[in-house]
């Protein structure tokens, strides 16, 4: 009994610890400018005078709280973030799944998995500076496709390795059973294998989308103005009059969590499910 209480307390403690920064951000998002820092008095955890002005500010560029308007609203970075993160995810998931399937079934070129990792072996900055030079040479700086492409490339290893593990686990006899019954290898893949691994593809896609969505460094290096994404935009949220716009940043942070959550919930029924459960003897 005491064991249970202690365990519950421990779990509650660590949960609170993990949630502290997020709850601080959530509370900050609803604070008026005067409460952002301790400059105007004491700092409280909950807003004394909750307001939606921070949200209004990032969406419209104006707020009763602020003397100066924002020269950019969140709409464009939001669009840029969604477009590049989704396209990058599609590239990584489609190419990674295809490559993983081919390597898993043909059992050739298995070293491809390791070579894909090279981008991840070095500190990100060490890789991204040469990429920046290449991208600028190719005229892909500050384009959505340039950013989407590099998102696809750097997350490809994850989709490859995750999907490879799933395909390796899926016995080839399941496809072969379809082939014996008259399917072509491609039909067997599309009609039999793909529905089985749909849940794995969904989990992989969610994971990769979150990676792309939360990227700061790559977008910072490869975009200038047109296609800056939410993290870059968020970091730049400051005015000469007010300095760092903490409340606006917090509001933006809260908003930025929405797409992954929506995505996660909408594909939830695909997540965490045994792949071949029931196909085999045991």
């Amino acid at each position: 009994m005491t064991g249970l209480i202690l365990r519950t307390l421990a779990v509650a403690f660590f949960a609170a610890l993990a949630l502290l920064p997020i709850s601080w951000m959530a509370s900050m998002a609803f604070k008026p400018a005067a409460e952002w820092t301790s400059a105007a008095g004491t700092l409280t955890f909950l807003p004394k005078d909750p307001t939606l002005n921070n949200f209004r500010y990032v969406f419209t560029g104006n707020s009763p709280d602020q003397m100066v308007g924002l020269d950019r609203t969140v709409w464009r970075p939001l669009y840029a973030s969604l477009l590049t993160a989704i396209s990058g995810t599609l590239i990584a998931v489609i190419c990674g799944t295809a490559a993983a399937y081919a390597v898993s079934r043909q059992r050739i070129h298995e070293s491809i998995g390791l070579s894909l990792l090279q981008l991840r072996i070095f500190p990100p900055l060490a890789v991204m500076i040469p990429v920046m030079i290449m991208w600028s040479f190719l005229g892909m700086i500050d384009t959505w496709w340039g950013l989407a492409l590099i998102y696809g490339i750097v997350t490809l290893p994850f989709s490859y390795w995750l999907m490879k593990a799933y395909f390796d686990e899926l016995p080839r006899e399941i496809e072969e059973a379809a082939i014996v019954e008259g399917c072509t290898p491609f039909e067997a893949f599309r009609q039999i294998t793909l529905p089985i691994v749909a849940s794995a593809v969904a989990s992989t896609a969610l994971f990769i989308f979150i990676l792309n969505w939360s990227d700061y460094l790559i977008a910072l290096l490869l975009t200038r103005k047109e296609w800056t994404t939410i993290p870059v935009y968020m970091n730049a949220l400051a005015t000469a009059a007010s300095g760092q716009l903490y409340g606006a940043k917090a509001a933006l942070g809260l908003l930025a969590a929405v797409p992954p959550i929506i995505l996660g919930i909408s594909i939830q029924r695909f997540l965490v499910r045994g792949l071949t459960f029931g196909a085999l003897k045991q």
Binding site: A177, I179, V180, G182, I196, G274, A279, L280
Partner: protein, 348 residues
């Protein structure tokens, strides 16, 4: 309807031969068991027949047509995979219907065939369930159904009932045998259980280390094994193999002497347990102590021996023999098989 001929087929993986120049004819409407220990190459042989792998050398003919390079779909063979390979996202019904849907069979015909099969395989009540909700035995029967639902030339089964419990296995093998004779189709049945192989087959093929050791009627393979390896593989309880020396007095071996030497000089003597008689008392030319008794109801398996040399015998279920008792060993001459000590070949 199909006759399958395997002509000199070889297949190696990474230089290691899995099948080495094997030939076998499966007559139209025959029931052939391919029996062999794990790793013998049984599954590889079926995969080659199906066209899922290509042969390194040799030919495969179906009804006289060379299909060595033909696609799996062009061979018209049904298959039950060793691991079943059901489609997990489909219900049992849709699993079984899959081969028919691929061939655009109309729905009433699909219903009719599945109903018939469900009766035979006793799976009517589980057709709407997905494989995950089925027991091992039910899955196995669904996999058999998926293979049989289509009018294939021949049906290949890779240990189709291995996952079932013993009693169900006995029932199923009889059921398959009955089904085969009703359908009159060619069946190829792979198993590593020799009782099962013997029980169902018209033709028994012993595969060992990538070669057919012997092919023939089950009773011939059992009673007249060509090689020591075959004698050791076929038959349960296992045959006893003893180094022996034949001369005018009979066969001499570590436990004494047995009458009737068909071979002179050194050889390996294999004794079928049902041909060995153990009598209490130890006065004869060949005697030993009882070291083990397994009482199995209808019969008992008694092991007698001395100094590491052992002979197994089948005795009555209520055998009066006791552990440690001195027994006299006699052998029915028909149950004594002699093999060349060096090559393992049978002495005539």
């Amino acid at each position: 309807m199909a006759e399958i001929q395997i002509l000199g087929v070889s297949k190696a993986y990474g230089g290691v031969p899995a099948l080495d120049n094997v030939s076998l004819t499966l007559n139209d409407g025959s029931f052939t068991s391919i029996f062999g220990p794990p790793g013998a190459g049984k599954s590889v042989l079926l995969r080659l027949l199906l066209g899922l792998e290509t042969v390194d050398a040799g030919q495969i003919l179906i009804d006289g047509v060379d299909v060595t390079r033909a696609l799996p779909s062009e061979r018209n063979l049904g298959m039950v995979f060793q691991n079943l390979a059901l489609f997990p996202q489909l219900t049992a019904y849709e699993n079984i219907a899959f081969p028919l849907r691929r061939r655009n069979v109309d729905q009433t015909e699909i219903d009719r065939r599945i109903e018939t099969l469900a009766g035979i395989l006793n799976i009517g009540h589980i057709l709407s369930k997905k494989p995950a909700a089925l027991s091992g035995g039910e899955r196995q029967r669904v996999a058999i159904g998926r293979a049989l639902v289509r009018d294939a030339g021949a049906y290949l089964m890779d240990e189709p009932i291995a996952a079932l419990d013993a009693r169900l296995r006995d029932d199923m093998r009889l059921e398959l045998k009955r089904l085969q004779s009703e359908l009159g189709k060619t069946f190829v049945y792979v198993t590593h259980d020799c009782d099962e192989a013997m029980a169902v087959a018209d033709q028994l093929a012993i595969l060992n280390e990538g070669r057919f050791e012997q092919v023939g009627r089950p009773e011939d393979v059992y009673g007249d094994p060509a090689m020591l390896a075959v004698a050791e593989l076929v038959g349960a309880p296992r045959i006893s193999v003893l180094p022996a020396f034949g001369d005018n007095d009979g066969m001499k071996f570590a436990l004494g002497r047995l009458a009737g030497a068909k071979v002179k000089g050194e050889c390996l003597m294999a004794l079928r347990p049902e041909a060995v008689q153990l009598k209490p008392g130890g006065k004869g030319p060949c005697s030993a102590l009882v070291t083990d008794i397994e009482r199995l109801g209808a019969f008992s398996i008694v092991t007698a021996g001395r100094d590491g040399t052992q002979v197994r015998a089948i005795t009555d279920g209520d055998s009066p023999l006791r552990l440690g008792a001195e027994v006299e060993i006699t052998v029915d001459p028909d149950g004594m098989l002699l093999f060349d000590a060096a090559t393992g070949a049978r002495h005539a």
